[in-house]
Symmetry: C2
Amino acid sequence: MKSQNIFSKIPKNLKCEIFELLINDDTVTIERIISKGQQSSSWYDQKKNEWVIVLKGEAILTFENQTSVQLKEGDFINIPAHSKHRVSWSEPENETIWLAVHY
Amino acid sequence: MKSQNIFSKIPKNLKCEIFELLINDDTVTIERIISKGQQSSSWYDQKKNEWVIVLKGEAILTFENQTSVQLKEGDFINIPAHSKHRVSWSEPENETIWLAVHY
């Protein structure tokens, strides 16, 4: 069995946010997300719950009720299904690496 | 909605490994594990798959076929259900913080 590293193989072209599936199962998906200065163009309205942690960098999530949560390295949050949210800010100079578990 | 930090609230007494459930759902559990020099006393033989990442520190997993995988910061591995494994070494001087998703 081999390990991989969550901080490796960062694509150089980060014009858009990058979503990479690490696990894609019937019940759960685990994905790495890389942001660099992007904001979400629209609300995420997801069928599944999402547990998400920032492993590197910094970003701000904004919810439909206009509350915002700033997430720095190691910060995690659980977003229940259908809680509309978007990335309203992410660090522009460096990559922000997220790990998200949809369940 | 509030965030928490995966690196905060590290218990001072780490005589045993500590397992803390962050999410406990019908389909998935997400837990933080803190090791400090411990080895598993027996094999883990789990009904569910386990995706696990080392977020801080360093450890070695050994599988039943005697292969070992060294895991450092950011290294992750997917352990299929019933792949018997154990922690054969973890950093003795500092905490090793794991994030495990059982699915």
